[in-house]
């Protein structure tokens, strides 16, 4: 039979008469109608739920698990935060704490986190399409999917949408935010926290208004070529400039510079000695002055030793001019009134030694020996244009230039930037985190004309910055204000009067927190007046001896006079008092020998304080906390008493555990500690 014949026969069979046609059409309609429920029947999640039931079948905890199980599409709906999450349709075991042995997805229980699924849903932290009910739609997988699941390494970004204040459990997010502030990112890019406050930098880019007095054109050129070659720890990025651009910028910076002092220093600048013995003396003074608490120097093994509050000094001799260095050591405020460096009050001999030591730290490989030829006006003008184009004034003060506003694109919502608005460089996977990471690692791969400099950061730091940037979402701004954990308000506490002026000169706030303001290197001093005895304080200010033998960061000696020490002590003893000590005046604490003896027992046996503190140099060894050999001449009795009850209320963040000690024990230990007088302290003459 021919094909045509067959078709004709089939036609006759199906539509031969009206009854047949009606029957055929009805059957076709029925078939069509079954497609919809059938498609629904074969959805991903049904299979998954079946697998789950098989998985829990026969387990010991099956009855409870079966009771918790609810079939069908599940949904977490939280209209006020815009969450419609159906993830729990497949991720059935998320809330089952007994399933911890199950390690295959989608049935693993959710690891413990401080927030509940029912209050926060899933996509707020994990991203992905909450409303989807198929595996591919929910997680993404094809490239360029607008809302793919967030890779686990960036998970902490979810926390950052509400938590503006750092959290102990989110080290990566905290680190990323620190880096954004420390590497000057926020100086070019505006970034607002979800509550609208602008993120600010913690770096202090130096002013370039007097740069010609501090360093040479050759050094500026070498620095611009590769800042990390001068100091591996430098935060200045590499602007990837061409040689002639570097030459012109250096020429302009020198040309715009103005002298920082109207007349010459009264004392002549010291001449650095080439004598090794003098250099050694300078090195010793550098050590005694605890310069290393803030400044790092590379040791012979290439490791950085020292703090990072001030710049690294490994090659400082190649950088600074002798006159400038002597002036800086005399008083940093002469050159930079806002510097974090204290006024040390060194005498002329000490300045000479330090100048000798520091100027010996040179590296001829860095600057080379060639002198730069005199700059032409054309070069200077071109340098000025380059400085404006590159936005140098966003960070540095430069004569005649204003800091540009909104120099670089705002990043407040960079964490939710739509992929359709992103131009990917070749080789970069088409996801937002990969895009941000590539922009940080090598901005120029996105185009030669891009102005963004290159930051040489190791992968974990790039991950941290990406995490912090991914927390900058549009959603974070629309979340209800009640969900936000705001940042602590910065304090602008400034002590007044003569003492205040002295504290400013010695830059106490660079290291100590007092009334909410200051650095974190040294102990908080908000209640120091309640804590210590006046005679000890005066002595300590004049000659800071170390209280913690294991610490490498120590309080430097500022060479203060008796009168200055007394002024400071008067202020501290009066103003830095805790209001909570009513009824504990030290007169009421009269201790007997029996108190001291029982305190000793408690100290050594019941509370084992010698684990961290030393009373008897010959047998105690603990050095987590301060040495207590002379604590009876240092601290006040009420302070010790309260400290033993709860040190955290007196100095939040102290390592001292909260003992909640009963009154009798606390009183006895206080008696024992107050009996540790050490050698008598002679008070400096009061004026």
């Amino acid at each position: 039979m021919s094909v045509r014949g067959r078709i004709a026969a089939a036609k006759a069979f199906l539509f031969g008469d009206s009854a047949r046609a009606f029957g055929t059409l009805s059957l076709a309609l029925l078939a069509l109608l079954t497609v919809v429920p059938a498609r629904d029947y074969f959805r991903d999640w049904r299979g998954v739920q079946k697998q789950y039931l098989q998985l829990i079948h026969g387990r010991n905890d099956a009855p409870a698990l079966t009771r918790h199980f609810q079939g069908g599409v599940q949904q977490i709906w939280l209209p006020e935060i815009g969450v419609v999450d159906r993830c729990t349709t497949c991720h059935v075991g998320l809330k089952e704490s007994t399933l911890t042995d199950v390690r295959t997805q989608p049935f693993r229980p959710h690891p413990p986190v401080p927030h509940s699924l029912t209050e926060f849903g899933c996509v707020l932290c994990h991203r992905g399409q909450g409303t989807a009910t198929s595996v591919a739609d929910a997680h993404n997988s094809s490239s360029s999917w607008e809302e793919p699941i967030l890779p686990a390494r960036y998970l902490e970004s979810g926390c950052g949408q509400c938590h503006i204040q750092p959290l102990t459990g989110t080290p990566k997010l905290n680190q990323g935010r620190e880096l954004l502030a420390r590497y000057g990112c926020v100086r070019c890019h505006t970034m607002r926290a979800p509550d609208g406050t602008k993120r600010t930098g913690t770096d202090e880019p130096p002013s370039l208004e007097h740069i010609a007095d501090k360093t040479s054109r050759e050094w500026i050129a070498a620095w611009l070529r590769d800042p990390q070659a001068y100091a591996g720890s430098a935060t200045m990025p590499n602007f990837q400039l061409k040689d002639d651009e570097i030459r012109d910028i250096a020429a302009f910076l020198i040309a715009q510079s103005q002298p920082y002092r109207s007349q010459k220093a009264s004392e002549p600048a010291p001449v650095p000695s080439q004598d090794d013995a003098v250099i050694q003396q300078g090195a010793s003074l550098y050590g005694e002055s605890f310069c290393a608490s803030c400044h790092a120097v590379q040791n012979a093994a290439g490791l950085l030793v020292g703090g990072n509050l001030g710049p690294e000094l490994t090659r400082v001799g190649s950088k600074v001019k002798i006159d400038w260095l002597a002036d800086w050591l005399r008083n940093p405020a002469i050159y930079d009134p806002a510097s974090a460096m204290p006024h040390y009050r060194f005498d002329a001999k000490q300045i000479g030694l330090l100048v000798t030591f520091l100027s010996s730290k040179t590296d001829s490989d860095f600057t080379g020996t060639a002198k730069a030829a005199a700059a032409e006006p054309k070069q200077i003008e071109r340098g000025r244009i380059l400085v404006i184009e590159r936005g140098c004034a966003s960070c540095h003060a430069i004569n005649g230039l204003k800091a540009p506003e909104d120099f670089a694109p705002e990043l407040t919502e960079v964490g939710s930037r739509p992929l359709s608005r992103i131009l990917f460089a070749p080789g970069v996977p088409n996801t937002l985190p990969d895009y941000i990471a590539a922009r940080i690692r090598d901005p120029r791969s996105f185009g030669d004309t891009l102005k963004m400099p290159r930051f040489s950061l190791p992968q974990p730091q790039v991950d941290a910055i990406v995490t912090a940037l991914l927390a900058q979402t549009a959603r974070a701004e629309t979340l209800p204000a009640s969900m936000r954990i705001p940042a602590r308000k910065p304090s602008d506490y400034r002590p007044a009067g003569r003492a205040g002026k002295l504290m400013d000169e010695m830059r106490c706030f660079s290291c100590h927190i007092i009334n909410g303001r200051g650095g974190t290197m040294a102990p908080e001093l908000t209640y120091e007046g309640t804590s210590v005895q006046r005679a000890w304080l005066v002595n300590f200010l004049k000659n800071p001896n170390t209280l913690r033998p294991a610490l490498i960061r120590r309080m430097p000696r500022f060479n203060v006079t008796d009168a200055e020490a007394n002024t400071l002590a008067d202020y501290i003893m009066t103003a830095w008092q805790t209001p909570d000590f009513e009824g504990d005046a030290s007169d009421d604490l009269r201790f007997t020998a029996a108190d001291v003896q029982s305190g000793r027992e408690l100290f050594y046996n019941k509370y084992a304080c010698q684990s961290c503190h030393i009373i008897d140099q010959s047998k105690d060894k603990g050095y987590v906390g301060p040495t207590l050999t002379q604590v009876g001449s240092r601290l006040t009795a009420p302070w010790i008493l309260h400290w033993l009850r709860n040190a955290q209320t007196l100095r939040p963040g102290s390592l001292e555990p909260v003992w909640n000690m009963n009154d009798a024990d606390a009183r006895s230990i206080t008696a024992f500690l107050m009996a540790q007088k050490g050698a008598p302290v002679k008070e400096a003459a009061r004026k």
Partner: protein
């Protein structure tokens, strides 16, 4: 009719063969050619680290290929594979002049143990294997890790750094390192919680361990216990060692 059927089945067979051979080549053929062969793989450094889920481990994994005399072999091939979303960069390569191969390890997205399998071909065409354990910390374990750095590490870590001198040797009763699974694994979570909350005396141990029950919250103490379970070596065996898998 019969001929078409035969042709079809032949085509299917060819396709199957092609697929199999393609797969085999994909998994078996080396991307780098060995210039030398060793007989043993040893780990130099980078084992038993921990990092947050999905993160790169801080220290690279350094492996060495040795010959039968225990001498390092340069130019031997090392391949690294891992399951559960963990991966090594690079995944394979030749050992350097010192006989060592260095790779960075990125952990998978779920908390728990990850096993990195290193292999190196021998002269006879066989493979030598070595397994390296790393752990990924979820939120709770990471919180514990950070609390450890603040409160515990000075006494519980025997290693000193310039910034932090260990206090362990100054104590009469030596604290246990948190990685000391042999001692800590048999202790129940309730006992550990009790020691952290009420001090060593809570279980008739040294008073040198102070009580932290008023300083840390219940959640924080649970996080510390979770952290020391996560880094225990040998691994905490409450549920058997489970390596992450896809």
């Amino acid at each position: 009719m019969k001929r078409t059927g035969m042709r079809a089945s032949f085509l299917v067979l060819c396709a199957a063969l092609l697929t199999i051979s393609a797969c085999t080549r994909h998994s078996g053929a080396p991307g780098v050619t060995p210039r030398a062969f060793g007989t043993a793989l040893v780990s130099v450094s980078g084992e038993k680290q921990f990092a947050g889920v999905g993160s790169q481990l801080e220290q690279p994994l350094v492996l060495q290929v040795n010959d039968a005399k225990g001498v390092a072999v340069a130019g031997a091939v090392v391949r690294l594979s891992a399951a559960g979303g963990a991966f090594a960069t690079p995944r394979e390569g030749l050992t350097g002049p010192d006989g060592q191969f260095t790779a960075t390890i990125t952990l998978g997205g779920a908390g728990g143990h990850y096993q990195i399998v290193a292999s190196s071909p021998t002269a006879s065409g066989q493979q030598i294997f070595m397994r390296v354990d790393e752990s990924a910390l979820g939120y709770q374990e990471m919180l514990g890790a950070k609390l450890n750095e603040i409160h515990c590490i000075r006494c519980h870590d025997p290693e000193s750094t310039a910034e932090r001198v260990s206090n362990m040797d100054n104590l009469t009763a030596k604290p246990h390192a948190f990685t000391d699974g042999a001692v800590l694994n048999p202790m129940s979570a309730a006992d550990l919680t009790s020691i952290i909350s009420h001090g060593g005396v809570a279980v008739n141990k040294s008073a040198e361990m102070p009580p932290y029950g008023s300083m840390l919250t219940k959640q924080e103490i649970a996080a510390l216990v979770a952290f020391l379970r996560a880094v225990a070596d040998p691994p905490y065996l409450a549920q058997g060692v489970n390596y992450a898998s896809n």
